[in-house]
């Protein structure tokens, strides 16, 4: 499938024990991942989490330190970038500035000596609605148009796997929304496997079938967007995908279908099915939009978790909703989103309020309390100095 011939459909991608170390730091600790054929998969994470490195490894632009990459069941780990049935839409687009748009799009077809390269290139340009600009140079196009050309240049080759490296990063918000929809429809139309790398959680959630949240060279959690949002597994995921109110405490009671967690005297009930761990010291949370604001103490019931009274310390209006910051003694600061529907209390700063939520909306996380740097073995000077300082400080503290 590599050189010559079109892929009839997308192929699945399998990463087995993938590892990438650069001198001085580890980009990818260990990655095991299977992306089924024809799916739209998003790798989501903050900058420096290893997502772009993963993409470059799959494209063949970097060499793996350890592990294997399989595309459609075939091991491509040791093949060169130009031998892989993979195409990339680069973050910078990387359109060849000395070629016209049509030559850019036909470039890959010509290299593989595919018949009627020009006709196919025009067809791909029609798909992204830019055929009328075929004779122009990339510099004569706007950012959004260049992005679409970059997409056409990649999909015209019908790669088994299409890699997208934050291709929408340089566009403004409105154009980005439009391009997200277009990308999604192109993917459904051509049926290729898409691997999309992004730091924009909204982009990942709206476009992808499956999202993998990456952090510090590892996948923290993988699943459908709604599942990730509803049931985050770690603190990082809970905070990176949207916002969360998190509380840590000891599990004090275990019922057949729920657990009770003691947060400095307040009990919070979480359904067992929505908790990743059901014993010991755990972190539980709830999304800000699931909270209900009340000016009087709500009636206690088995279905509700109630916190309060607390004080509103900040109110910020953002159109569709209002964000309240509420300080509750012994619990901490809570974020609450209230839809501006004209119902419910409208409170100002300093008001005394209660916060409640339905038990079914809470979730329990899996991870332990943060244990510091994940890559202590690396030996660059900054890390060494930091380790030395921590060691010294703990020594001094003990004396």
């Amino acid at each position: 499938m590599a050189a010559g011939g079109f892929a009839e459909a997308g192929a699945d991608l399998e990463l087995v024990g993938l590892q990438k170390r650069f001198p001085g730091f580890t980009a990818i600790e260990e990655l095991n991942l299977t992306i089924p054929a024809g799916s739209f998969f998003a790798l989501l994470g903050p900058s420096g989490c290893g997502k772009t490195t993963t993409l470059r490894l799959v494209a063949g632009l970097e060499e793996v330190t350890a592990g294997r990459i399989l595309i459609g069941g075939k091991d491509v780990t040791s093949t060169k970038a130009y031998q892989r049935p993979v195409n990339t839409v680069f973050q910078s687009y990387a359109l060849f500035p000395h070629m016209s748009i049509i030559d850019n799009v036909a470039f890959g077809l010509r290299r593989r000596k595919i018949d009627d390269a020009m006709g196919k290139a025009h067809e791909a340009l029609r798909l992204v609605e830019l055929d009328h600009l075929a004779a122009r140079k990339p510099s004569q196009l706007s950012g959004g148009q260049q992005q679409r050309v970059a997409l056409a240049r990649a999909i015209v080759n019908r790669p088994a796997l299409l890699l997208l490296d934050e291709p929408l990063g340089a566009l403004d918000l409105k154009l980005r929304r439009q391009m997200q929809l277009e990308l999604k429809s192109v993917q459904e139309e051509v049926g290729l496997t898409f691997l999309h790398v992004t730091h924009d959680q909204e982009e990942a959630m709206t476009m992808a079938d499956t999202v993998a949240v990456m952090n510090k060279g590892r996948i923290e959690q993988l699943g459908a967007p709604a599942v990730l949002y509803e049931l985050p597994r770690t603190v990082f995921v809970a905070n990176f995908l949207g916002q969360s109110n998190l509380f840590s405490g000891q599990v004090v009671a275990e019922n057949p279908d729920s657990i009770s967690v003691d947060i400095d005297g307040t009990r919070i009930v979480v359904p067992k099915a929505r908790a990743h761990r059901t014993s010991g010291h755990i972190t539980v949370g709830v999304r800000p939009e699931k909270l209900i604001l009340a000016r009087e103490a709500p009636v206690e019931s088995a279905d509700n978790n109630i916190l309060g009274p607390g004080r509103v310390i900040d109110v910020s209006f953002s159109g569709v909703s209002t964000q309240y910051l509420i300080q509750i003694p012994l619990v901490g600061t809570i974020v609450l989103f209230a839809q501006n529907m004209g119902t419910g209390p409208i409170v100002g700063e300093g008001a005394e309020v209660w916060v409640s939520w339905h038990v079914e909306h809470g979730f329990g996380l899996d991870d332990e309390v943060e244990t510091g740097s994940r890559f202590p073995a690396d030996t660059d000077t900054a890390t060494l100095a930091l380790q030395k300082r921590h060691a010294l400080m703990s020594e001094l503290g003990e004396d």
């Binding site: 494209a59 063949g60 970038a81 130009y82 910078s92 990387a94 470039f107 593989r112």
Partner: protein, 303 residues
């Protein structure tokens, strides 16, 4: 209040006019220089090229005239030298390009992660400039001379016939031209390769093109401005060069170039009109060749 308002109004009004006066003033030395040292000599060269020998004058005495035959005469007389000049210049340019491109690519692209190495090699390219051009060419004459270890070594290896020699041959002249103009080729190439965005190369390999095809279809077109200016900077002076081909340096009687002919006509046979018309022919041919070349390589914006 009123005064200050008035003052600012006039100031903003006058600002552009004053700026253009300053610009003219700054341009004046340059324009005067060009008038004095380019237009006047060029004009007098054209006049000289049309002069006829004075009727009862001595050798080297000429009268103003319109002797167009001067041109046809020198073309007929020196066509071999004219052709040889351009052949040598083309060869030297090709060799300099073949030598300089990999060098410039290495400095500008491969050595990017090592700025110190980059600077070191650049210094090695430029350092020979600190020694006189004549001295360097004379040094090559020594190296290529019959008694030199180089020639002896080549003979010992049977790469050179026992009675063969290097100085005075076309090889030595083209070699000298190539050597002397390599920095002029390397520096513009380096300047354009140094700015080469390697992401285009990655895009090339991502689109199924082998390293060689990427080089041919992406790297070379993107470094074309450097190639064009390097070729011009090498070809133009090489075509008119008279040092390397002269008998005192690397040349011989069979390697005379147009520069040597002009020199001997001006300084030895005192045939000023012939020398002047040859200079103008050289200039015209270079102008035509360069224009055609630049047009073909699609970098008109350089001119």
């Amino acid at each position: 209040m009123a005064f200050s308002a008035f003052a600012t109004a006039t100031a903003t009004e006058q600002a552009p006019r004053r700026a253009s006066k300053v610009a003219l003033l700054l341009l004046l030395p340059g324009i005067a220089y060009l008038m004095l040292f380019f237009l006047v000599p060029l004009f007098s060269l054209v006049i000289t090229s049309l002069q006829a020998p004075a009727e009862f004058g001595d050798i080297g005495e000429f009268d103003n005239a319109f002797r167009w035959e001067n041109y046809t005469t020198v073309i007929g007389q020196y066509s071999a030298q004219i052709l040889r000049s351009f052949l040598y210049a083309v060869l030297a340019t090709i060799f300099a390009l073949l030598f300089s491109y990999p060098l410039a690519y290495f400095i500008g692209v491969r050595a990017r992660p090592y700025p110190l190495l980059q600077k070191l090699i650049l210094v090695m390219v430029i350092a020979p400039f600190f020694i006189s051009f004549l001295l360097r060419t004379l040094a090559w004459k020594q190296i290529l001379s019959d008694e030199s270890p180089v020639v002896a070594g080549l003979k010992a290896l049977s790469l050179l016939a026992p009675d063969a020699f290097l100085t005075g041959t076309p090889f030595a002249v083209v070699f000298g031209l190539t050597y002397n103009f390599i920095p002029f080729m390397t520096l513009p190439l380096y300047a354009s390769l140094e700015r080469l965005d390697t992401r285009y190369l990655e895009a090339g390999s991502d689109l199924y093109s082998t390293p060689f095809t990427t080089f041919r279809t992406v790297t070379i077109p993107l470094s074309m401005p450097g190639i064009v200016s390097g070729v011009l900077l090498t070809f133009i002076p090489a075509a008119g060069d008279y040092v390397n081909a002269s008998r005192e340096f690397l040349g011989g009687t069979g390697t005379t170039m147009i520069g040597n002919v002009i020199e001997s006509n001006f300084l030895i046979s005192l045939n000023y009109p012939a020398a002047a018309s040859l200079s103008i022919i050289l200039m015209a041919v270079i102008l035509v060749l360069v224009t055609a070349y630049v047009k073909r390589s699609g970098t008109e914006d350089l001119l």
